[in-house]
Homo-oligomer: 574 residues x 2
């Protein structure tokens, strides 16, 4: 449980620390706490967020909305004013002082799947209802806990929360199983296409069994990165419309039986809607329904459905071979034409090439929504790697606090944070919480001196895309009273190799500032940014001029003419 | 205009920097930007906040809600997805990817007084309507600006925005004037009681004229701190229920004609509802209505009303004398019994005694909602001092970003920030924006090693009220590439006196860490905290034990037994 104390939740927090079933982790602010809760829930299955009324809960709303978008279950527990004072409409601090006590919950209603105000008379029922919804729908829920209700005793709880879904309708289930089996038997080119939901609803293993049984290649959308390892023999990699590798695109778009799992064809997942898929060949599984041939069968549990399909014998086993080696290159980063010399400046291409080799099975990778996210999409992930990001909500600043949550939820694993300078500035104080709990992630700060992803879309040299330069390398010293960290500054390929090697030897938090040129970005991101500009500002008159600037800068070595060939360190030592 | 760029608002930001009427100030994150906009609007009369859809606007919602509570006009301009994509329900990033494009505005509807989605067909009318509402109601408004609409040209604007209120109903106005004059003539003990609205609606000068004309003493509620200087001959100081000075309490509660201006008797303003006022003697002025003898007259403009009252001759001038000297002590900080030696450790009492002398006419004081806010209430403010805080919304972390806005809005004045360690950790990155714009406030960090205000309410020694200790004195070096700051660490009264003197000599940003004991707080805050605990947790069983701990700690010198006698600096140098 992550959060921040406030007068209305102090009694509740006191309950939580007197037992031993919940650990409360104080964060520096509430938005950061919500991101930390998100990161923890990705690995632990669920987490909680404890904030105070009004000022606290509204500050974390953006992070909770992000968890809704990304299907992450968080129990938001808000310390509210005393029950009676709310019913009477008292003029209290942390409100608009107008007697309105419905406005906060109204906001959360938009971004959570269940809400309740806890009163003594309904507490047991309402808490159970809300928790159950959170766990079954894998999305955030909202519990408003009046300050004077928090410590009231009820009868002891004797039964575990009932988390069973209702059983599927037997006839619809049978019908769905038969239809899917027939389609698979008849199909020449079936493909499984995963989205994040496959992972959230624990369907991936069943799908891989299906893949094995029928010899079906498995592609994934960007939000399902890491759900299946790129090393899996049937994984063919990411499908992203015209941003896909040619062979993946052909396999997916030419499929005559596309088994989709919770797919949402968003702008980011499809290279701005460049996907070209035939609706009629799709079988869409949701957690409790399935759509086949355009007809939706409700009351069909996806787990029962897949288990049922797997129980049927394969009548016609088609020889579909192994797709992996022919489609997915082991390392997909293009070389940049330079021979690799240790004195060469590090670039996006050389960084990611080295980073690919640095990855180990079981790593947890957290990326923020900048160049690091888009580059990570091309990584070939070893087995058991968890990839944490916000492919839909895409909030800058998410990744550092999410790393706090991830480290606490999976302490035995290696955690790697990839974050840009714009993102780091947003939520930087959560470095404090890493040190407070003696956590030791490896942090790569990709410092490209400004909001590079915005520059690539529009305003390449405009002042609003600039950031104030920080002495980033000094940051750990603010928080680190016990010499628990090592700071590295990486400008060359040699620096990078030496730094990466040292992280395996020294068990400390590593803070690695990688100095990159302002406009250095993988070609895939350049392409995506151009698309985004066309989508967002179709009538924009300066687009031609912008493009010329971008092309020129690229020729001149990816900085901007004049200032900032490299992100400039400040003068006063490091 | 404060904000953060995002892909949906880039074209809008480009418009704003091509003209010369708006300055865009990029902040480190959106919550901070909203606080900065609030600080600027307090001094400039209005400000704007530019964020991107979803991720940006929800991150700043808490700050906007605060501006609503505190009656601060901010124009929130949200860069939204292209109009057509919203109408079609496209699955976009920065949304829940469910086609819902009303959820964000629904949240803002709760905390703004006008909203519009700008379309080419309605842009001129809707923008004017929303701006007019903002300026007339002194509260935030919401403009959703689709990315592809932002740069569209319309006919040039030829007329200024019409900001006139409709004229008062002449009969009701005449009636109100007569009733107020009769009441004043008949009254033996009239008192004017100001709330923040008097200042926001520019009524203070008229009220002081009224005070002068009839010899009426002027008290104020906490949110009106600074609206009238404590040096004003008729100012009798703050009324806060049983938290008032005895003479002020008697004057206000025994008044037979209490002229209230926009008063909201909130928990903080009234010492948890300890006020004792007779409704029947109150005359309540709002900007466009007045309530006299329990009857509300609508369509009465407060400015016209006061002007009308002032035009009437005084028939019976009662000798009411000057209240100031008899009621308001010049410096209200009690001594702490120690003789003042320069080697004595600085305490809350000695700090505020020195700070009182340090104040100059025209200062801008910004305090966060901790010990500094409650202590500031007892300051006697010189003429022309602006006092900026959040007495109602009370969000920790507000004050530092608000100082950015205040400095930019009133560059010629001396700006003083008073902030606690808990608050600083919340929004610390906005120090960056101070340096980016070469701003030079004097920053007092009152470091008492944790959430002291929460400790005083509940959980005096509980872990959730602890903070990770930072090397605060190193913070400016992260952001300050041009040697624009001086860092001070104050532990003794001698340190404090020397530091205060130096700020008058060296024109730089001064960052002054004042090291205080954990539980050192003015008695008024101790009292308030006890009240808050009784209000929030009336059934709390540990209150007795808590009190014992608090009393013991107080005896032991205001730290907590065991750890933290003083906020401990970290070992690695300063």
């Amino acid at each position: 449980m992550f959060g921040v104390p406030g007068d209305f939740n102090l009694w509740f927090l006191e309950q939580s620390i007197t037992g031993d079933q919940v650990e409360f982790v104080g964060c520096c602010n509430e938005l950061n706490a919500s991101y930390a809760a998100d990161g923890a829930a990705r690995l632990a299955g669920i987490s909680a967020l404890a904030t105070t009324y009004g000022v606290g809960e509204l500050s974390s709303l953006a992070g909770v909305a992000g968890a809704h978008a990304e299907q992450v279950p968080i129990v938001c527990i808000i310390g509210a004013p005393p029950l009676d004072s709310m019913k009477k409409g008292a003029l209290l601090h942390h409100t608009l002082a107008d007697g309105n006590f419905t406005n906060m919950m109204n906001c959360y209603r938009e971004f959570t799947v269940a809400q309740a105000r806890i009163e003594p008379v309904n507490a047991r029922q309402e808490i159970d209802r809300v928790l159950r919804t959170c766990l079954l729908e894998k999305r955030p829920v909202y519990l408003q806990m009046p300050s004077d209700v928090a410590g009231i005793a009820t009868e002891p709880i004797t039964e575990a929360l009932d988390l069973r879904l209702p059983p599927s309708d037997p006839e619809l289930l049978r019908q769905a199983i038969s239809q899917i089996v027939s389609r698979l038997e008849a199909s020449e080119k079936p493909v499984i296409l995963l989205d994040a939901a496959a992972d959230r609803f624990a369907l991936t293993d069943l799908l891989l069994e299906l893949s094995e049984k029928y010899g079906i290649p498995v592609a994934h959308l960007i939000p399902a990165k890491g759900a299946v390892s790129e090393e899996h023999p049937r994984s063919i990699g990411v499908y992203a419309g015209d941003g896909s590798a040619t062979a993946v695109r052909e396999a997916v778009e030419a499929s005559d039986c596309l088994i989709c799992v919770g797919t949402r064809f968003t702008d980011v997942a499809t290279g701005l809607f460049s996907h070209n898929l035939d609706d009629s060949v799709q079988i869409n599984l949701e957690s409790y329904s399935v759509t086949i041939n355009g007809e939706t069968l409700n009351a069909v549990d996806a787990t029962e459905l897949l288990a049922g399909v797997l129980r049927r014998p394969v009548l016609v086993r088609k020889a579909r071979g192994t797709f992996h080696s022919s489609i997915q290159p082991a390392v997909s980063f293009e070389t940049d034409g330079n021979s690799i010399q240790t004195s060469s400046p590090v670039t996006q291409v050389s960084f990611w090439r080295s980073f690919q080799k640095y990855l180990q099975p079981g790593d947890v990778i957290v990326t923020d929504t900048g160049t690091s996210f888009f580059s990570s999409m091309k990584l070939s992930l070893p087995d058991g790697v968890t990839f944490i990001a916000q492919p839909i909500w895409a909030a800058l600043g998410y990744a550092l606090p999410a790393t706090v949550g991830a480290c606490l939820a999976a302490p035995g694993r290696r955690h790697i944070l990839l974050v840009g300078d714009g993102a780091l500035q947003m939520t930087v104080q959560e470095l404090s919480t890493l040190f407070r709990h003696d956590l030791k992630p490896i942090i790569f700060l990709l410092n490209n001196d400004g909001y590079t992803i915005e520059r690539l879309i529009y305003g390449v040299a405009s002042s609003y895309n600039n950031l104030h330069p920080w002495q980033y390398g000094m940051l750990p010293r603010i928080f680190d009273e016990h010499d628990r960290s090592v700071v590295h500054r990486v400008e060359t390929i040699g620096d990078l190799e030496k730094t990466l090697a040292s992280t395996n030897k020294i068990s400390k938090l590593h803070f690695i500032e990688v100095v990159l040129l302002r406009l250095d970005a993988p070609d895939s991101l350049m392409h995506m940014a151009r698309r985004a500009a066309e989508f967002d500002f179709p009538q924009m008159r300066r687009l031609g001029a912008e493009d010329k600037t971008l092309r020129k800068s690229k020729l001149q070595g990816l900085g901007l003419s004049g200032n900032g060939k490299k992100a400039t360190p400040m003068g006063n030592g490091n």
